[in-house]
């Protein structure tokens, strides 16, 4: 029994991406879900399932009420921050494939810039009374208290182990911003950066410069999942869910898996990658576009290694010769990623994958047939391979 090819993404929807939406998170959720349902050629009464992140502030029932979705037979949430992104689609696909629901919408909507900013120190994260609070007790009180800092500690070891440099991190930011520069929906539309500007940007958590860190955004993205069969009858070309996986690794923590033998690695993404290749039967060379979660540049290099696009420690060489450009061996984040387009917790990257498969992206990679998408790294994570029907 396999999930591969059973379900498809039939609709995508988003709000504008901004620094201050001026409206409630629930309004953003309603807008993007509504847009996605409309894009799928459906109406709210067709929807019977909703999936989101545990971090999302909008209850499924609140979204259903606002949109007039009469009945829900399936609702579910995925944990671990941005690691949930691709897994929301996996949950939806499993529900559809097993007949638990016919049309499931995965959504994420927040005022992450004008409201609670993830880049700031969260005393709530430090003080939660559960195992994660206890985990954080060995990190937050010591001053390791922001996402950038947690990544910087791993990045430093990666630089040391493999002889990479800050410029190698910077090349990821430069290519993302180059792609965002020609995407009118991107916050950094028309604002490419140079490697020199990356190097000159201020330290946030050394060895991370400001331009190694993604922006903070307000906005929402929703994805409509239904059976491959039904999707074929809907207006837009379906993006088939060829593979969908979650992963956590040995000695796993949220952002602080510091007690494993190898610190300069993301084994949880290796767990995801192994499943994606197995489920899809595809080879690395079959992937036409990679949408890799880019909240911090070092983890893009490490994902390339974990997913097998290059050998361990070789990402720095892989990205040096233009492989990530639109005409390169593995075009990366044609929408500009979270560094360039917006930080919508990885969900905007899945929407971009769908546009690439439909052939409607602003930075279209010609003949894109298979797109690999990953979710947040440093945490238990997830991934997808989507395929043009």
């Amino acid at each position: 029994m396999t999930l591969s090819g059973k379900a498809a993404i039939a609709g995508i929807g988003a709000t504008e991406f901004s620094k201050d939406s001026g409206r409630s998170e629930l309004r953003l959720a309603a807008e993007c879900v509504s847009a996605a349902v409309r894009d799928a050629g459906l109406t709210p009464s067709d929807v019977d399932g909703l999936v989101t992140f545990t971090m999302d502030g909008n209850a499924e029932i609140a979204v259903a009420r606002e949109l007039g979705i009469p009945e829900l037979s399936f609702f579910s949430r995925i944990h671990y921050g941005g690691g949930a992104a691709a897994a929301t689609v996996q949950q939806a696909a499993m529900a559809v494939a097993t007949g638990m629901a016919d049309v499931v919408v995965a959504y994420r909507a927040f005022n992450e810039r004008s409201g609670m900013r993830f880049g700031q120190v969260s005393s709530a994260a430090a003080h939660q009374v559960n195992t994660s609070g206890v985990d954080n007790s060995f990190h937050y009180p010591m001053g390791l208290a922001t996402p950038a800092a947690t990544v910087a500690l791993v990045a430093q070891r990666y630089l040391h182990t493999y002889g990479a440099t800050s410029e190698d991190f910077g090349r990821v930011a430069v290519v993302d911003r180059k792609h965002a520069a020609t995407n009118p929906d991107a916050w950094f539309h028309g604002k490419p950066i140079t490697l020199a500007e990356h190097q000159a940007s201020r330290w946030v958590a050394e060895p991370l410069h400001l331009l190694d860190c993604c922006q903070e955004s307000d906005g929402g993205v929703a994805l409509v999942v239904t059976s491959a069969e039904r999707a074929r009858d809907l207006p837009n070309p379906p993006a088939l869910i060829t593979a969908a996986a979650q992963g956590s690794g040995p000695g796993q923590y949220i952002m602080t898996s510091y007690y494993r033998d190898d610190l300069a690695a993301l084994p949880e993404m290796g767990v995801v990658g192994g499943q994606l290749w197995r489920q899809s039967g595809l080879a690395r060379s079959d992937i036409d576009v990679a949408v890799l979660y880019d909240h911090f540049t070092p983890y893009v290099l490490m994902q390339l290694e974990e997913l097998g696009f290059c050998g361990r420690g070789e990402a720095k060489d892989f990205v040096r010769d233009g492989a990530l450009e639109l005409d390169g061996a593995l075009p990366l984040n044609p929408h500009g990623g979270q560094l360039g387009e917006a930080y919508i917790h990885g969900m905007n990257g899945i929407a971009e994958a769908v546009r690439q498969l439909r052939g409607t992206a602003v930075n279209q990679v010609g003949g894109a047939a298979n797109v690999l998408v990953t979710a947040g790294t440093g945490v238990p994570t997830s991934g997808l391979i989507l395929t043009a029907a």
Partner: protein
């Protein structure tokens, strides 16, 4: 380069003195009585009588805006406060008052006050949070005669972001402690870096289960020698972290006993830190309940 706040401060300071604002009431015995009663001041000079004077320290009270009063449109302090409010520095606390009294006031005299902005300094890190010190000069007149003046300074701050010494109890993010980890924090209070031990196996961070899953096993702990080397580290610059002063170094240290433990590397110049640097345990006492483990460079 100057910030928008500094620009605004320069603009407001350049406007000079506000127009005089007349006190709501002339100096009067009733308000004096209320004041001395509240302060508990029994000085007979303020008691009703022919030679009554107002307490000099009352000068500011005469021209306070009052319960529903509003600042004048040209009041420089009000203008500066609203700019800082908009920038997120929403709380205010007075820090300095320097009053000079040229003469005492008598009932019936009607004072007025002018204000001007002297300086705005910041942003500064304070125990209350990041903020700006706003200094104004007030001059009180009776008619054209200057009767008193005051330099007044307030801290306009962003609450909650307080950073002071590492041992500031209110500011530190406190650990959530479970039955499995309480021995660790009991140890740091005693200046011991305790590592959980299951038979011959050490484990950090500690947890409730041994590596072999034996439900009958009971954990113990060893006191680490406290020496080790930096396995990885970062230099934290932004944003501010409660209880820390940026930039600061956080190091993941591999102890000689073979486990890794995270802590702030105290008093280290970021430039001298490198992977492999020998360090030793240090302990930062926060209060009776909490001592944080930390590191210092080994001599």
């Amino acid at each position: 380069m100057s910030t928008p706040i500094e620009e605004a401060a320069r603009r407001i300071a350049a406007q000079g003195e506000s127009r005089p604002r007349l006190a709501r009431d002339p100096v009067n015995q009733a308000m004096i009585n209320n004041w001395v009663e509240a302060m508990g001041d029994a000085n007979p000079r303020y008691a009703p009588g022919e030679d009554t004077v107002a307490p000099p320290a009352m000068i500011q009270a005469w021209t306070m805006p009052g319960l529903h009063g509003q600042r004048a449109g040209d009041d420089p302090l009000g203008a500066m406060m609203s700019i800082l409010d908009d920038a997120g520095y929403t709380s205010v606390v007075a820090t300095n008052s320097e009053q000079n009294y040229h003469r005492y006031l008598r009932p019936g005299e009607h004072v007025s006050a002018t204000n001007r902005l002297e300086s705005v300094a910041g942003p500064k890190r304070t125990a209350l949070g990041e903020g700006w010190f706003v200094t104004t000069r007030t001059t009180w007149y009776v008619g054209d005669e200057v009767v008193a003046d005051m330099l007044f300074r307030v801290l306009k701050f962003r609450p909650g972001g307080g950073t002071t010494a590492a041992a500031e109890p209110a500011a530190v993010l406190r650990p959530v402690i479970s039955k499995d980890t309480e021995f660790f924090w009991e140890g740091t209070r005693l200046g011991e870096l305790r590592i959980q031990r299951w038979g011959d196996t050490l484990r950090h961070p500690p947890g409730p289960m041994p590596p072999d899953g034996d439900l009958d096993a009971k954990p113990g702990w060893v006191v680490a020698r406290g020496t080790g080397t930096v396995y990885s580290y970062l230099v934290h610059h932004h944003p501010q972290v409660p209880g820390k002063r940026t930039p600061f170094v956080v190091a993941l240290v591999e102890l000689d006993e073979g486990v890794r433990v995270l802590g702030e590397l105290l008093d280290a110049s970021p430039d001298e830190v490198h992977i492999g640097l020998p360090v030793e345990a240090a302990f930062v006492r926060v209060d009776d309940e909490l001592t944080l483990p930390a590191w210092k460079v080994r001599a």
